[in-house]
């Protein structure tokens, strides 16, 4: 932001040495990740890999190895790039953003925290201290996928999903989040509701993916036509659904 002269703040405070905010705490139902936790740690911490694997997989796709050593969870949330991985996962999983100031503490749902392109619900005297992610239930499947023109670039479109199946193979719960298609990442709740009770075979996956593409209203921009984004949503959703169904590894114990 500074480098591109998009932000020209009068004062700049370096938070990097607040190492107490570089932390991962497993609270059981929730996994709390400190705002200064680096992407590399988010991608590799055992508590996150076990408790919130969608988050870990998404963090592993950010930028490049050196970038992941410095970039932070809080930084990504507050920057609120519409195509960024971690805001998308926070919205998809229904995470809570923890905010603190001298006036006190408050918690705000990620979907409400992200207001518009690069704009968040944060006053000038407030600091994001961490994010609480709900633990993914046992047996839940997950997939994160994105498309960018160069490896490591910001996504044009990114998709995050979780899926629970019953013993008969029918969908009990689907969470489907998309990024890069509007000002903020969003859940496609109509598609999620449509999926319940369906058995995700090839035709059903295509139907759900088409519905996902129809549920968004991207705008044309000079580099990416709206239709291209819709096609990407369809392709990435179908691919992610296949990954959590036909391609999901059998559990071997």
């Amino acid at each position: 932001m500074l480098n591109m002269r998009l932000a020209q703040p009068e004062h700049l405070i370096d938070l990097n040495d607040l190492i107490e905010l570089d932390r991962v705490i497993d609270h059981g139902e929730w996994v709390e990740v400190g705002a200064l936790t680096r992407h590399h740690r988010v991608a590799t911490a055992p508590e996150i890999r076990q408790g919130v694997p969608l988050l870990a997989d998404a963090a592993a796709t950010i930028g490049h190895y050196a970038i992941r050593q410095r970039g932070t969870l809080g930084g990504s949330l507050v920057q609120a790039d519409p195509a960024a991985q971690l805001p998308l996962v926070a919205v998809t999983l229904g995470a809570d953003v923890m905010v603190r100031s001298r006036r006190g503490r408050r918690t705000v749902a990620a979907a409400e925290f992200l207001r518009a392109i690069m704009s968040v619900d944060l006053a000038g005297d407030e600091l994001v201290t961490g994010v609480c992610f709900p633990r993914q239930p046992d047996g839940e499947r997950w997939a994160f996928d994105l498309f960018s023109r160069r490896h490591g670039d910001f996504a044009i479109v990114a998709v995050a999903l979780t899926l629970q199946l019953d013993d008969a193979g029918a969908i009990v719960a689907l969470r489907l989040g998309v990024g890069g298609v509007g000002p903020v990442p969003m859940r496609l709740t109509a598609v999620e509701q449509r999926a319940v009770g369906l058995v995700p075979d090839g035709d059903t996956i295509l139907d759900l993916a088409r519905n996902a593409a129809a549920a968004i209203t991207p705008e044309d921009d000079p580099l990416v036509p709206a239709k291209y984004r819709r096609d990407l949503v369809e392709t990435l959703t179908a691919r992610a659904l296949r990954r959590v169904t036909a391609d999901w590894p059998e559990v071997t114990t």
């Binding site: 480098n3 370096d14 040495d17 490049h64 050196a66 050593q69 410095r70 490896h151």
Partner: protein, 162 residues
């Protein structure tokens, strides 16, 4: 606020005192104030990887960091990679298999890969290519850099005490 500030930087095991404007990039301070010109500056916005150094042992872009942020941190640059007059295993491998041509990107690649091999001693080729995606090289086509990393990793493993 933009008046120069005096700070001490721990670089390659020595502490240096410099007086620089607070907005001066770490990459520029290393090169201009400390004379450590092995850290190269390419894109100046974190994309090309030429300025990669180690901050507390982890690879990072010196062009995305202000020098004033680095008090109390341990910096390592390309100048500290060779073992005296002996090239490091990675430097030697890059030399042997022609993993560089103009050499501009090479310091950043060496810093990135050196730190990675310390934590991942036996990477496969896919992993190496993913790692190298953070460092642009316009000469080699990367093939020989990948070969050099594989060779260096094997050499480092062979040297490690069993």
């Amino acid at each position: 606020m933009t008046a120069p500030v005096t700070l001490s930087l721990a670089v390659n095991g020595a502490v240096h005192e410099v007086t620089v404007p607070p907005r001066k990039l770490l990459s520029d301070v290393l090169r201009e104030d400390l004379g450590l010109t092995g850290t190269h500056v390419g894109c100046e916005h974190g994309v090309c990887g030429a300025c990669t150094i180690l901050i507390d042992g982890q690879p990072a872009r010196a062009c995305l960091t202000f020098a004033v942020q680095m008090e109390g941190h341990d910096l390592t640059t390309i100048e500290a990679v060779s073992e005296g007059d002996r090239l490091s295993p990675l430097q030697q491998a890059l030399h042997q298999v022609h993993g560089l041509q103009c050499g501009f990107c090479t310091p950043g690649i060496i810093m990135t890969v050196t730190a990675y091999l310390r934590d991942h001693p036996d990477p496969d080729e896919v992993e190496i290519r993913d790692l190298l995606s953070g460092n642009l090289c316009r000469c080699t086509g990367y093939q020989n850099i990948v070969k050099a990393v594989i060779r260096a990793a094997a050499e480092i493993r062979a040297r490690a005490p069993a």
